[in-house]
Symmetry: C2
Subunit: 174 residues, 2 copies
């Protein structure tokens, strides 16, 4: 974890305007054996659908028709992506998106960090980035549906189960 | 309950094209002492915000800025309303809306039936109308967040709590 130098909680996040090839916010700088790399967050929707599919494959999610994935990105309120940048190569290493009524509520879906980058604090940074973006749009009720194995991950971020007994419910076609 | 004549499960719902003043689907016809009335469902977004506020007031919900309510209606994927029509008078008696990514997921919010019209099966019809509309748009994952006192209401409609341990979680600003 100390491996990563945090820039996220600085007053103004460093932008990547110095990296004109990529619109986003520079959040992490790390140095390892193979030279410097940056972790950059972005809300740009122009994501290669095959690269996104590969990321989702890497955590074992079922494949979805790319046509529908494209539509879901277009109609999400917020699309957050996390990239590792080395020189002029970039790699999609994390993703999340949120639906919203643009006024009161947002619901976060499809949170994922590539297994090679998990357990370094990056999932937490990605979620904080999503919350910051939603808050900056004046959304105050942020919800999500958590798989049982990640409830504690979200709880550490301040998400609550069943506040005042409110419960998530699901309807699927027969 | 027998008071209402159900038209909802007919193959093609009767439309109110015979009532040109109102775009919607005729769902119920009832006769009581004061003459015939129709219950009509609509997805028209052109709802008087004051009339909606009155409906929400009637079940004790906290007031919300009308400017934000307007925005939320504009950016909801589906807005369902339920009206009682007597002669050429119409009254808003039920409401629900859904956010969505237009592809996979929808989340239903703000389900309400006016207290004078509750416990007659109309809330159930309103929810079936919402589900039907979402299904017709090929949305298969319908979710909502239920207050504790209405969990059974949704359960009767086929909504499940925690399928495979998935749980709804909430984040609010401090
Ligand atoms: C869930 C996921 C996004 C977490 O990403 P990550 O980068 O590994 O998480 P972080 O390293 O930022 O962890 C942040 C904190 O949560 C904890 N945490 C991470 N995963 C956890 C888990 N599955 N259960 C409990 N705690 C977890 C970490 O220990 C860390 O705790 P700390 O702040 O006390 O150090 C990632 O594991 C993933 O993509 N999983 C597969 C897809 C998935 O299940 N997505 C969620 C669907 S609802
Ligand atoms: C919840 C609400 C929409 C239900 O509307 P309604 O028109 O009274 O419901 P219906 O008459 O269609 O009831 C359908 C079925 O659910 C049952 N039901 C209704 N309200 C219920 C409740 N609060 N708890 C348990 N069961 C309930 C009915 O008995 C009926 O059962 P049946 O099919 O076996 O006969 C309405 O009570 C309401 O607007 N409440 C205030 C606002 C609110 O709480 N909204 C939900 C926020 S999450």
């Amino acid at each position: 974890m100390v491996f990563w130098k945090r820039l996220f909680n600085n007053t103004t996040p460093a932008t990547t305007s110095q990296y004109p090839q990529f619109p986003g916010e520079l959040v992490e700088v790390s140095k390892d054996g193979s030279g410097q790399s940056q972790i950059v967050f972005s809300t740009d929707r122009d994501i290669d659908l095959y690269e996104l599919e590969e990321l989702c494959d890497s955590v074992g999610w079922a494949r979805r028709p790319l046509r529908k994935v494209k539509k879901a990105l277009d109609f999400s309120f917020l699309v957050g992506s996390m990239w590792e940048i080395r020189g002029n190569r970039r790699r999609l290493i994390g993703f999340a998106r949120a639906t919203s009524d643009h006024a009161f509520n947002a619901t976060i879906w499809d949170v994922v960090v590539h297994p090679s980058y998990q357990k370094k604090g990056l999932g937490k940074l990605l979620m904080k980035y999503m919350i910051k973006k939603l808050r900056s749009e004046d959304i105050s009720n942020i919800t999500l549906f958590a798989d049982p194995q990640v409830i504690d991950f979200y709880r550490r971020l301040g998400f609550m189960l069943d506040p005042e007994g409110i419960k998530g419910m699901f309807w699927y076609p027969d």
